[in-house]
Amino acid sequence: MSESFRLTMVGIHKHFGPTHALRGVDLELARGKVHALVGENGAGKSTLMKVLSGAVHPDAGHMMLDGEPYAPTNPKQARQRGVAMIYQELTLAPHLSVEANVLLGLEPTWFGFLRRAEGRCRVREALAVLEHPEVPLDRPVGELGPGMQQLVEIARALLLDVRLLVFDEPTSSLARADALRLFALIRRLCDRGVTVV
């Protein structure tokens, strides 16, 4: 049954000292669908998503990703399995260019030298998939607006062949027009089979 879902979480528990933040949570996320996690402040939404993205380790319970056991010990492992989280506070290197940010950690190299043409090509492809080829590749990310910065984060996730993308309050720092563009982009990602939370 679980193989029909992109991800299943079963009986997830998490304590922070005396606080029982997650109490036996079960969650099933379908392929190519948008899911919204709704709850009051302190309900454990962020903790659950951090468990999903490898930032927090659950005390009990297990997860399956596309039918295979999934237990990331850190965000890097989660990203390598195709699970990426876009935080409210974006995780970008502001002094680096768009190209360098999208490729960060995945740079194609030859004996320690950057293969710049190949890297640039991969970034262009990712931005083309997002249908935003106008994003300036050489511009430092710190000089871009919040909408474009979020796009750079999503492009970085695409480079890892993302299967499950988690947004933490994605529209909170966006203008209305940028938020609408983000929703359209999320729909396009879902059409490619990406699961979005």
Binding site: L92, L96, L104, R116, L144, L151, R181, A184, D191
Partner: protein, 366 residues
Amino acid sequence: MQEERDIRKEDGITGTVPAPSAPPLADPETPVAAPLRLFRKLPAMSGPFLGLVFVLTVAVIVLAINGQLGNFLTLRNLQTLLHASSVTGVASLGMLLIIVSGGIDLSVGSVVALVTVVAMQVYNLLEARSGSPLLTSLGAVAAGMSVGVLCGLCNGLGVTRLRLAPFVVTLGMLSIARGLAIWLAGRTRLAFTGERPAWVDVLGVARAKSTLFAPGVWSFLLLAAVVAVLLRFTILGRYCYAIGSNEATARLCGINVERTKVALYGLAGLLVGWAGILRFAHGTSGDPNTGQGLELDVIAAVVIGGASLSGGRGTVGGTILGVLILGVLENSVSFFGVPVEVKYILIGAIVIANTALGRLQRGAGE
């Protein structure tokens, strides 16, 4: 492109995306006042370049008044100036790597002193035993530079394994290296016990007849080119900027931050080791008291060159200009009677003015 076409085809089938392509995002540039726009259009290196022009102008005016301008604007003086700047220059390249990655190294001057002492001790020891000038010289240079690398690696391991602030670790190394240098030298300045090797004279002479500038100057320029290539075209350089810009992001993206930092401190140590060998040749001695305050000159050169002490920014070109600015000031004080207080005030003013200009260029919000 193939992938892009496939996706659009897929969109067409599902009918979920009405527009064939997304509208472009709004221009992120916020409107700014006219003077700010002017600053932002200046090239990134304009700050250090303007600083150099300013210092040269002040030097020319002061020396014209003193009647020394004729002696200042000569090839001979340029050779002397560059020769005297080569130690600071080579050490600045190492400092650039560390500052770009968000660190700092206060131990440079003491490590240079330790390198001179170790090189001299090893040279005298090997000369007494082997007698071969080549092996003796190679042994002394290798020992001196190894000490530089070792100190750099210790700094890097202190920052990464002990998780201490670079300021604290390198402040400790400043004291340890100076203490070791004084101890190894027996509280005295060491000289060659036998004949001075030829390479020391070659490296120590400011005016080379056949190569225009002294070999130390050429070694600085060569190493500057190597560091520029490293920063711009290698994965280590990319990670250096990434860690300095946002260490948490670098970690999240799978970069081995600890290993990269140790490698950068080690490389910086290698450069400081070579700076120590140059100082050894310039002074023809193993001097445990040399290099006092050198770290501040080196940091000033890198910062004047446009690097940010909070990391993520800095270039080799800017650092060379920073070294030249300090070199012109030092040269004016040492050889042309410009009061030393003028040097200190100008260095301070340029550091502040250049940092402020850089901020304006990047936008006041940063």
